[in-house]
């Protein structure tokens, strides 16, 4: 089978997708992706130069609605589903201090 996607490209795509793979998994995914992409080559049989793409279905433009704020009582329920909250905020690992430190390092 012709290899269309190379390992280095797959590694880059995995990084962009925020997915981690072991070396073994990467090889298995490389086979799968190349197998599938090989089938996609079939689309090259068609002359699509003068064909416009269909990006959404339905007639005309999608409807617009006026942007009016509405009261919503569900905030507490939403926060209940979060892995880590404090004072009504979602908490994530600290990033600010780290960036500041990196900037300082760069200045030095």
């Amino acid at each position: 089978m012709k290899e269309v996607v190379y390992l280095s490209e797959l590694e880059k795509i995995a990084r962009l997708s925020k997915l981690g793979f072991s070396a073994e998994e990467l090889q298995s995914f490389l086979r799968d992706i190349n197998d599938i992409v090989a089938h996609f080559e079939k689309l090259n049989q068609l002359d699509l130069q003068d064909v416009s793409p269909t990006s959404h279905l339905g007639g005309g433009e999608p409807p617009f609605f006026s942007d009016e704020p509405q009261a919503w009582e569900g905030s507490e329920e939403v926060l209940k589903g979060a892995p880590w909250v404090a004072g009504g905020y979602f908490i994530v690992p600290r990033i600010v201090d780290k960036e500041e430190k990196e900037n300082e390092d760069r200045r030095i």
Binding site: L43, V51, P63, F65, E77, G81, P93
Partner: protein, 492 residues
């Protein structure tokens, strides 16, 4: 009353029983909960049974019986686990959302409840609706009630199996490329994919937003009509939902007019890839219509062969974008890491299963710089050609009839040599999904205890004609409704 007495019931039959106070909502809910208890260790159609709340709600309804009953009052309904249901889990069959409880109802659920329905539970599915067997569910596969060794299809396999086994009178599924119709075909029940934009997607967890549609899975065509009347119609929270009023059964033409309908038979759907018996059963059904004076015309959908590739590119691209939201911050699984980036990686790597990762990679690849024109843009153009094929064909006829699937339900755990071969199971349901057309699968016969699905495809928002023909064909075929004994091996 006993569950077997409901074998041939429609939603209207339950409604009449309740109107006449011959059964109470609590009794009805208890009968279905007992059936679930009896069948679940063999079928595994449900990921969550809403036992306590369903009973409480049924009790409350029983104590407050209104004069005039809304259309689904007291009726238990099963919901696919990618449709948000307030206060209940919505896992999408994924470890990522294993502990997620929806804080709100999807519009379709809101409408079912407003019509008086009682939510019985959440049904199993392929993880994030990626698959056609339910084997991609993190929580284990569903078994086909008609042959427990086989798959019920997917991704709405749990919904189809629950309706087939009469663990629920009806269910909701979602259809991106055939996920309502294919499992309905494999389980011998009715599955309707409405026109794209007919039913609001608000609260239906997004897989591929330009393709996803929620639809009913029912035991009779009549029930698909009843559910569609309830769940369809414009919704200000979904800008892709058409600004039309709900579907009404008044849109269904009279039998006299249905008889005058011209049915197109697309030659590309009767190729060598269809199992011989399936082709024969569809021809028999077409013969019945012809015998009644319906005009059949052969039509061509020349780009059918390219639809599968275009679909997998479009669906994977949209899925890779939709699934970017699962990052461990606001809901769902979080795996702590050394820093924020690390947390994203750890969470997504542990939370998603293999097929989901495969499609995220595929989608990200086809959207990435240098490949966008080659894959994604090209697929969107093929989508135009597929849509135009249908437009042309539907100028020569009113509705199309095809097989729903090329093969019978496969065995659970069956290995395929070529990964892509499994994707071809959806070859007949994908084209109309790409074109956004209403399509319905209906059982047209059994072979060795396994059902054969017949698909009817209509023009945009022509569910009236489509359901009218389906109602009539169902009557002509006069097939028994499934009521499986739930033994290992085959049997209705």
């Amino acid at each position: 009353m006993k569950i077997e007495e409901f074998k041939d019931f429609t939603i209207q039959d339950y409604h009449h029983l309740l109107e006449e106070k011959k059964i109470s909502p609590l009794e009805l809910v208890n009968i279905f909960l007992e059936r679930i208890e009896e069948g679940e260790d063999k079928i595994h159609a449900f990921l969550f049974v809403n036992e306590e709340k369903a009973k409480n709600e049924a009790r409350e309804k029983t104590d407050n019986w209104p004069e005039e009953l809304p259309p689904l009052w007291g009726l238990p309904v099963a919901i696919k686990d990618n449709i948000c249901t307030q206060g209940m889990p919505t896992t999408c069959g994924s470890k990522m959302l294993e502990n997620f409880v929806s804080p709100y109802d999807a519009t379709v659920v809101e409408r079912l409840k407003a019509a008086g329905a009682i939510i019985l539970g959440k049904t199993n599915m392929d993880e994030f609706a990626m698959g056609s067997s339910t084997e991609n569910s993190t929580f284990g596969p569903t078994h086909n009630p008609l042959d427990l060794r086989r798959t019920p299809g997917g991704s709405s396999g749990g919904s189809a199996a629950s309706v087939c086994a009469l663990e629920a009178p009806c269910a909701l599924g979602s259809d991106t490329g055939g996920s309502v119709r294919q499992p309905a075909a494999f389980c011998g029940v009715v599955g309707l994919r409405p026109t794209y934009g007919r039913v609001p997607r608000y609260g239906v967890v997004g897989l591929a937003s330009s393709l996803d549609q929620a639809g009913p899975i029912t035991r009779k065509v009549e029930d698909a009509i009843t559910i569609l009347e309830v769940i369809s119609g414009k919704d200000s929270r979904d800008s892709t939902c058409a600004p039309y009023p709900p579907f009404s059964r008044n849109e269904i033409p009279s039998l006299e007019d249905i008889r005058k309908i011209k049915v197109g038979v697309p030659r590309e759907y009767f190729s060598s890839r269809v199992e011989k018996v399936i082709g024969e059963k569809i021809q028999e059904a077409l013969g019945k219509l012809k015998g009644e004076g319906v005009e059949l015309v052969e039509v061509s959908l020349p780009h059918t062969d390219y639809a599968l590739e275009a679909y997998y590119i479009v669906a994977s691209a949209e899925a890779s974008s939709n699934l970017a939201r699962y990052d461990g911050v606001m809901y769902g699984l979080r795996v702590e890491g050394e820093d924020l980036q690390d947390m994203y990686f750890e969470t997504r790597t542990l939370g998603f299963g293999k097929e989901v990762k495969r499609r995220i990679i595929l989608g990200t690849y086809s959207l990435s710089s240098g490949h966008y024109d080659e894959y994604y843009l090209k697929s969107m153009k093929v989508r135009t050609l597929v849509r135009k094929d249908f437009e042309e064909a539907l100028k020569q006829c009113n509705l199309l009839i095809t097989p729903t699937t090329p093969s019978f339900p496969f065995f659970l755990g069956e290995e395929t040599q070529d990964l892509y071969e499994r994707y071809t199971d959806d070859i007949f349901t994908i084209p109309s999904a790409l074109a956004g057309l209403p399509s319905l699968s209906l059982n047209c016969g059994y072979e060795g205890g396994l059902p054969v699905g017949l698909q009817i495809i209509g023009g945009p928002f022509e569910e009236g004609k489509l359901l009218g023909l389906a109602l009539w064909l169902e009557k002509l075929l006069a097939l028994p409704s499934p009521f499986p004994e739930l033994k290992e091996g085959r049997g209705q």
